[in-house]
């Protein structure tokens, strides 16, 4: 290569770098725009911006995909009905990568760059924990759909609320009586050895013992485990009920290996549908689950006594009677959780209307309006069931469903009441300054 060639090559590289820098600058300017754009119309015609923190990538992506669809459907319904306080709703979605650090950055982006009115949508507990401090500091209402106990435990702040889905403590408390009265009193728990599993271990143990049952073994499985055969011999012979809450990609292996271990002579088995959200119950290897019980936040399969509210919700989101997408029967929904997005958006709507919400200056009024909420009737806005919101703990309570696998479908056996899931307050957020 000659000297001139080198010069040409250098020039080319520089040009490319300059071009890249210019491109990046343009991109940055574009990205910064939402913060500077001003609507020419009057304030009243500006959309209400809802920052949607969504797990589009990372371990929560399957949930995020369906949270996205439910959010889009609910926002469309709200806008078709005239929006909120006469203003349309605009959903501004940002991927948090199911990562707490990125989650916090996304909340900052909603508050400071997109100028969103509120932030909403998060599922995974660690993302909520990582993001909530920033929401509190930025004083942006943060509505989570997580089912974690973090909100009601008092670990977060007054700007974080969970008005659309029950927390795990309430869920297991309300189900324990059914387990001890119908399935057996000697329970062995199998759970993942991290915070989510430990919550189940602690809350369910207490609830079972309060109902006259006994946890005879607690088997914690490390999250990195890919084969479970060595854990099954630890299950005591006198076990009457196995309670499992395994999650993640290894859950199919777990169920398959448990089936191989027990064969036809299995004890009663009670699991959390979290294990099999977005998974077809008729997948190979899951035959063993026939006759076992599951908790469901909302019944995946349309039941014989389906409510008109469930039908309305399914039709609008695009879910068939088997809990799969109407566009693709193999695309199974996260039905037991995603209703939380629907109900949360309608709580936000009701809260904004009650507060006469006009702009970010009314955020504190919105918080107070939601805190003032109590009972919510089962309706198109609350298709999962009636709810009771506790303004002090910022946590909603509602019914739970216990279903049995029969012929490859989940058939509801028992519906708990709101009262079954209530517990003593652990915090009063209303005492914190806004």
């Amino acid at each position: 290569m000659t000297t001139n060639d080198k010069k040409d090559l250098l020039a080319t590289r520089r040009d490319i770098l300059k071009g890249a820098a210019a491109g990046a600058g343009a991109l940055a300017a574009t990205s910064a725009l939402p913060g500077f754009v001003r609507y020419a119309q009057a304030q009243s015609s500006e959309p209400i911006k809802i920052g949607f923190q969504v797990h589009r990538t990372g371990i929560g992506a399957a949930y995020g995909r369906w949270y996205d669809r439910v959010t889009t459907a609910a926002a469309k319904l709200i806008n078709d009905g005239g929006g909120i306080n006469g203003r349309p709703v605009e959903i501004i979605a940002e991927d948090d990568g199911t990562d707490p650090k990125r989650g916090a950055e996304v909340v900052e982006k909603f508050a400071s760059q997109h100028k969103c009115d509120i932030a909403y949508g998060t599922l995974f507990s660690h993302v909520v924990m990582g993001s909530a401090p920033r929401a509190g500091e930025l004083k942006i209402p943060y509505f989570v759909v997580s089912e974690g106990h973090h909100v009601a435990s008092g670990a977060l702040n007054r700007y974080t609320l969970q008005p659309g889905i029950c927390d795990v403590k309430s869920q297991v408390k309300s189900m324990a009586p059914f387990v001890t009265q119908n399935l057996g009193k000697k329970v062995t728990m199998i759970f993942p050895d991290y915070a989510f599993g430990h919550d189940h271990r602690d809350f369910f143990s207490a609830a079972v013992e309060a109902n006259g049952g006994q946890i005879i073994e607690k088997i914690a499985i490390p999250p990195t485990e890919t084969s479970f055969t060595r854990y099954f011999p630890k299950i005591p012979r006198e076990t009457e009920v196995i309670y499992h809450v395994m999650v993640g990609p290894a859950v199919l292996t777990f169920v398959k290996e448990m089936g191989e271990f027990y064969g036809p002579n299995k004890p009663q088995i009670f699991g959390f549908i979290d294990s099999l959200e977005a998974v077809d119950l008729n997948s190979p290897g899951l035959e063993f689950l026939d006759g076992t019980y599951f908790w469901e936040g909302m019944p995946r399969y349309a039941q014989a006594d389906q409510t008109p509210y469930d039908k309305f919700y399914r039709d609008h989101v695009g879910v068939d009677g088997n809990g799969a997408s109407t566009a693709d029967a193999k695309d199974v929904s996260t039905y037991a959780h995603m209703f939380g997005c629907w109900e949360t958006l309608f709580v936000i709507k009701a809260g904004m209307e009650a507060a006469g919400y006009q702009g970010t200056g009314d955020r504190t009024k919105l918080i107070e309006a939601v805190e003032a909420m109590t009972d919510m009737a089962q309706s198109n806005e609350h298709p999962q069931g009636a709810k009771r919101f506790n303004g002090k703990t910022h946590q909603v309570f509602g019914p739970q469903y216990i279903s049995k696998v029969e012929g490859g479908k989940l058939v509801v056996q028992h519906q708990t009441s709101i009262e079954d899931g209530l517990y003593d307050d652990e915090v009063d957020y209303t005492t914190q300054a806004l």
Binding site: A104, E108, G130, H150, D193, F196, H198
Partner: protein, 314 residues
């Protein structure tokens, strides 16, 4: 102008530009810069080992998380204030870096990478194992009341920005001084030719151990600061992803340069921030950008700048 004066002007200018940034930039970018400065400290710590000593670690998240958890656990369980907790975080980093250094430096090259990776995974799993205390993957929040340092509220955006800036400036100055000091010169000599350095009579092992401890401690400072500034402590910061990130930041910015880690962190942060708003395949775009940068600026941003325009750049 002497190279030292030029370097002083550059680094001083960067700090002044960052001060000005607080008054000029929109709120969102101020918040981003606070994060970037805190994480750039982590990258500078990594650079001490990788860029100046030639030791490639794949497990630095253990030091970052040691600082974060050393700080967070002492707040959560011992009721320490922000100052003592911050010191606990640093001490946790010193102890862990010393232990890991003593053991891992029995290996070299690829084995060193693997040993550090394994140690880091062990730390990550330890955090999960002790979930009753650490809250495992979920982590825990450091409340604003526990983030008061000498009467300064670190949850306030302005104080947070300047706390991150002060920390960044101190570490930048310290690493700049380090590489000019005899100890740093020996580290560079080890990077360039370990056998020759040993032949010249230097105790290579002790210098490398010193580099691991320094690097681990600076990483722990960053972890403790990050937890205090942003109010969250979680196991994801101990995952392998957070061991790879400082490597990428340093490679992009320019290994063996003082400003390189900051530039790499800045570049990577905004690359993810901008592309994730455009597509869910943002990691693909980020990857393509990284490949392009590696092809056209293999020595990183600051490294290329040094080679082409500023041979004086430290």
């Amino acid at each position: 102008m002497t190279p030292t004066a030029k370097a002083f002007l550059l680094h001083g200018g960067l700090v002044l530009a960052l001060v000005a940034g607080h008054f000029i930039l929109p709120e969102y970018h101020q918040g981003n810069l606070a994060r970037i400065m805190a994480l750039a400290v982590y990258a500078m710590g990594y650079n001490v080992l990788f860029g100046y000593s030639g030791l490639l670690s794949l497990g630095h998240a253990m030091f970052f998380s040691a600082g974060m958890y050393g700080m967070g656990l002492s707040v959560q369980h011992l009721g320490f204030g922000a100052g003592p907790a911050f010191v606990c975080g640093i001490l946790a980093g010193v102890v862990l870096a010393t232990a890991v250094g003593v053991l891992a430096l029995r290996t070299t090259g690829v084995a060193f990478m693997i040993v550090t990776l394994m140690f880091s995974q062990a730390v990550f799993l330890t955090i999960l194992y002790f979930t009753p205390w650490t809250r495992g993957d979920e982590g825990f929040v450091i409340q604003p009341v526990d983030r008061m340092l000498f009467g300064i509220d670190l949850s306030d955006a302005t104080y947070r920005y300047f706390a991150a800036l002060v920390l960044f400036a101190i570490v930048m100055l310290a690493t700049s001084r380090l590489i000019q000091a005899p100890f740093g010169r020996v580290l560079i000599a080890i990077r360039e030719n370990e056998e020759r350095t040993r032949m010249l009579g230097y105790d290579v092992y002790r210098h490398k151990l010193g580099a691991v401890i320094l690097s681990g401690t600076i990483s722990a400072v960053s972890g403790a600061a990050y937890g205090l500034l942003f109010g969250y402590v979680g196991a994801s910061f101990a995952s392998v992803q957070y061991s790879i990130l400082p490597l990428l930041w340093v490679l992009l910015g320019g290994a063996g340069t003082i400003v390189g880690p900051f530039l790499g962190t800045l570049f990577m942060f905004y690359l993810i921030d901008l592309t994730s708003s455009i597509t869910t395949a943002y990691m693909l775009l980020a990857g393509a950008a990284l490949v392009l940068l590696t092809l056209f600026a293999p020595e990183g941003l600051a490294g290329s700048f040094r080679r082409r325009l500023a041979p004086w750049l430290p």
